[in-house]
């Protein structure tokens, strides 16, 4: 039972353009959502998070949008840079110390 789904295995974007990575979840009890970035031979690195009481959180070039009614969140990267090329994982949890559930990841390629 995949509670967090990233339906696009890969995405290719031109440098300077916007990258949009999508994520859907099924468990309505999730109230905290995170994005992690992973380079080869490294562990995932925290990128940005959002609580369910918000619908948008911005940090520099990265913005996460949350649509609770659709159980959907997205990560926007503007402008995209070649160094952003990595695997991006969407993750969700229920505050109170519950386990974090990860999606399968989307591999982003940013072409120079």
């Amino acid at each position: 039972d995949q509670q967090v789904k990233q339906n696009s295995p890969s995405l290719s974007v031109q440098e300077g353009r916007i990258s949009i990575l999508n994520c859907d979840y099924t468990n309505s009890m999730f109230d905290y959502f995170l994005w992690y970035k992973k380079y080869p031979a490294e562990g995932p690195t925290f990128l940005i998070s959002i609580s369910s009481i918000k619908d948008k959180n911005e940090d520099g070039r990265f913005t996460v949008f949350l649509n609770k009614s659709a159980k959907h969140l997205s990560l926007h990267i503007v402008p995209s840079q070649p160094g952003d090329s990595a695997v991006y994982f969407c993750a969700a949890s229920q505050t109170g110390g519950f386990k974090t559930i990860f999606g399968a990841g989307t591999r982003l390629f940013v072409k120079a």
């Binding site: 967090v4 690195t45 925290f46 994982f89 949890s93 505050t95 109170g96 110390g97 386990k99 559930i101």
Partner: protein
Amino acid sequence: DAGVTQSPTHLIKTRGQQVTLRCSPKSGHDTVSWYQQALGQGPQFIFQYYEEEERQRGNFPDRFSGHQFPNYSSELNVNALLLGDSALYLCASSKGLAGDYEQYFGPGTRLTVT
């Protein structure tokens, strides 16, 4: 300030053997979670340790067990290894119960079972 460290980096085991993986959390962190990442998949939650106790467990058999020491470091033990246990094992630490905070991951231990 050292981040999360894991040892060993790689290891190869035979079916039926037992393995122990080790993790030292980031300085100041008291919670350790373990994940299994199979090829092409996201990290799958195994269990979480807080105050030396297993606080949460994912859908993994009892062959997977762990321990947290007073200095917050942790071990993951897997008994009776199966071919399907071949994966990258990630350790993550956080200050406070994971689920409320972002986690910091180590580089992982690549386990190959032959």
